[in-house]
């Protein structure tokens, strides 16, 4: 039976992962992600799990790697500077093909930044904050309900591809309290057999070892090539996006997360006035949904990308569009209200409709 709860979206992330079978949450306090660990510290023990508060984000992500070695899916949650510290082990986990679920309650940067919510970590999330050719699967829910709905899928992606999966949610959305419906609890992590690779001792398998450093040049080539092929497959199969009113649109608005959510109101209000505006909301940021842009209709005169940063995803939109249509950008970050308002988005879309 479905259950509807009124929760802060950080708590929704915590509740979702508990309901979906995650039993270990490693974390270090940081605003605005801390509510996740407060919630799991209280709720996980009731389900035979635990929240493990470590001494730093470095320790968090490396403990998560150790946990994953045993073939178990753990989780972590953090924000901006914490995410930066975790990059070391995230690259390590990608190289070692170890799964995990992570949340970045994105805040404004750079440096230690500010606790204000933003979308400043798009580059870091999608390009890899660590060294080497690795990829992290990035999901960008736009509300609490979507966090809950995407959790089973995120777990499936993490376990199928044995890769870290990162939820990026801006800090504003994370701190919103919303009504969310949850499906019946189900341990999705148990749907995957990890016995072929987990490090569980040599009782039932010959020695296994996870080497990401001291391999030979040939082994290194093979490892990187295997990963490249995996990323090609993910890129091909796992793109997700939402779109509406694209078919005859003159202006397409592209935004993820909270601005993506606002696009619905923008498009609805514009259409009510007879203005042909449509939207594309990427749900996977990596792989970026290039396919959404493959067949944009000839009616589209321009594209407007809206972000809570100085323009990061806009690069991916430009790559996907490949010069076929002009791509414009509207963004805001820092300050007391780091988001673009609906009025600003509407004004910019109208300017583009009028060919300004």
């Amino acid at each position: 039976m479905k259950e509807t709860l009124f929760l802060k979206n950080t708590e929704t992330f915590a509740e979702s992962m508990i309901r979906c079978g995650i039993r270990c949450h490693f974390a270090y306090p940081i605003t605005p992600a801390t509510d996740v660990m407060k919630y799991t510290s209280r709720m996980l023990p009731e389900h035979g799990g635990r929240m493990v508060q470590m001494e730093s984000e470095l320790a968090v992500s490396n403990a998560l790697a150790g946990y994953a070695c045993a073939g178990k899916l753990g989780a972590t949650s953090t924000s901006g500077p914490g995410m930066t510290l975790m990059q070391e082990a995230i690259g390590f986990m990608a190289a070692g093909e170890l799964p995990c679920i992570m949340l970045d309650a994105m805040r404004v940067g750079p440096g230690d930044g500010d606790i204000i919510g933003a979308q400043s970590t798009y580059y870091q999330a999608t390009r890899g904050g660590g060294h080497g050719d690795y990829r992290v699967i990035v999901l960008a829910p736009s509300c609490g309900q979507e966090i809950a709905d995407l959790m089973p899928h995120g777990i499936k992606l993490a376990m199928t591809y044995r890769n870290p999966v990162l939820f990026v949610v801006d800090g504003v959305t994370c701190q919103m309290t919303e009504t969310t419906s949850f499906e019946e609890p189900h341990d999705y992590t148990a749907d995957f057999d990890t016995s072929s690779w987990a490090f569980t001792g040599t009782a039932d398998h010959p020695k296994r070892f996870l080497v990401t450093g001291s391999y030979t040049h040939e082994q290194g080539y093979e490892m990187n090539e295997k990963m490249r092929q995996k990323y090609v497959e993910i890129s091909d199969k796992e793109q997700m996006w939402e779109q509406d009113q694209v078919e005859d649109a003159e202006v397409l608005v592209v935004a993820f997360g909270i601005h993506g959510r606002m696009c619905k109101d923008l498009v609805e209000a514009s259409r009510a006035k007879g203005k042909r505006v449509g939207f594309i909301r990427p749900i996977t940021l990596w792989p970026f949904p290039d396919k959404a842009f493959e067949n944009i209709p000839a009616s589209v005169k321009s594209i407007l990308v809206v972000e809570m940063n100085h323009g990061q995803m806009v690069d991916d939109v430009r790559l996907a569009v490949n010069g076929r249509v002009p791509v414009h950008f509207l963004g805001k970050t820092g300050g007391e209200i780091p988001m673009c308002t609906l009025a600003e988005m509407t004004r910019e879309a109208n300017n583009l409709l009028e060919g300004e």
Binding site: C24, F26, R50, V52, M54, E55, S56, L58, A59, V60, N62, A63, L64, A65, G66, Y67, A68, C69, A70, G71, K72, G74, E88, A89, F92, G96, F199, T200, G201, T202, A203, K207, R208, F209, L210, V211, T212, G213, S214
Partner: protein
């Protein structure tokens, strides 16, 4: 036909030459760890978490599951693994650079957390793999490739005494400094390593053994001179001793 494995057990692998330089103390310490695992009959449920540096190769010579953790972070990874599989045995094998420079933070918190994992720190007072630079454990006056006129404590600080720093921590169940500079010391080191693993098996808490060892290559000394240096110079600063042994409250092995 009898094989070496029949004779010595399965834990130590004999099928390839080690990458350790001739005369390196790592060879002895790796063997002591292997013999401990073999003697305790825990091979099939043991996980090695090795650090970066020459010691990172240790698992190549052990028939146990293993991961090469990121520089310094082995204790954090070992904790994650132990949480996932509490009935399994997990140990870290790290050099002095890995443990006391880049990984000091992880080792100290692991010790203080008191979770039953075992950490072996091989201290040869120099960065071996990267070519003989100063380590936090280089002794005063020690010439390295980054202290050409010798370690100057006014500039570089004093050698780091890791077990001494852990001594007051309640979560630590076994704490010792040993060496492999001569046969008598090797026998004592074997006992401490065994005790450290035993503490984990009995769930008593965190266990740690620092092993003073020679690095002929990093020290630019002949093998006998490297052993003499470790025995005289290094041990004069790093005094071997058992700091703490919770097994005494139970019965020692």
């Amino acid at each position: 036909m009898q094989t070496l494995a029949d004779y010595y057990g399965k834990t130590l692998k004999f099928d390839k030459l080690t990458s350790y330089c001739p005369g390196c103390g790592h060879g002895i310490v790796t063997r002591l760890v292997a013999e401990t695992i073999e003697a305790m009959g825990i091979r099939e449920k043991t996980m090695a978490v090795v650090g970066i540096g020459c010691g990172g190769f240790s698992h190549h010579y052990l028939e146990v599951d293993a991961m090469e953790a990121i520089h310094g972070r082995s204790p954090a990874s070992a904790i994650g693994y132990k949480i996932a599989l509490p009935d399994h045995i997990v140990f870290t094998y790290q050099g002095d650079g890995d443990t006391s420079a880049i990984g000091l933070h992880e080792i100290m918190h692991a010790a203080n957390r008191g979770m039953p994992i075992t950490c072996i720190m091989v201290n040869n007072s120099v960065f071996g793999m990267t070519g003989g630079q100063m380590s936090p454990t280089s002794i005063p006056g020690q010439v390295t490739s980054t202290t050409a006129t010798g370690r100057d404590v006014a500039v570089h600080g004093y050698p780091l005494l890791v077990p001494e720093m852990m001594r007051a921590m309640q979560g630590v169940s076994y704490l010792a400094r040993e060496s492999v500079v001569d046969v008598k010391s090797i026998k004592k080191a074997a006992k401490s390593i065994r005790n450290a693993f035993e503490c984990q098996v009995r769930g008593l808490g965190f266990s740690f053994v620092e092993v003073i060892s020679p690095c002929p290559t990093g020290l630019h000394l002949s093998v006998p001179d490297a052993y003499a240096f470790a025995a005289k110079e290094t041990l004069s600063y790093f005094k071997p001793q058992v700091f703490k042994n919770e097994l005494e409250k139970n019965d020692e092995v």
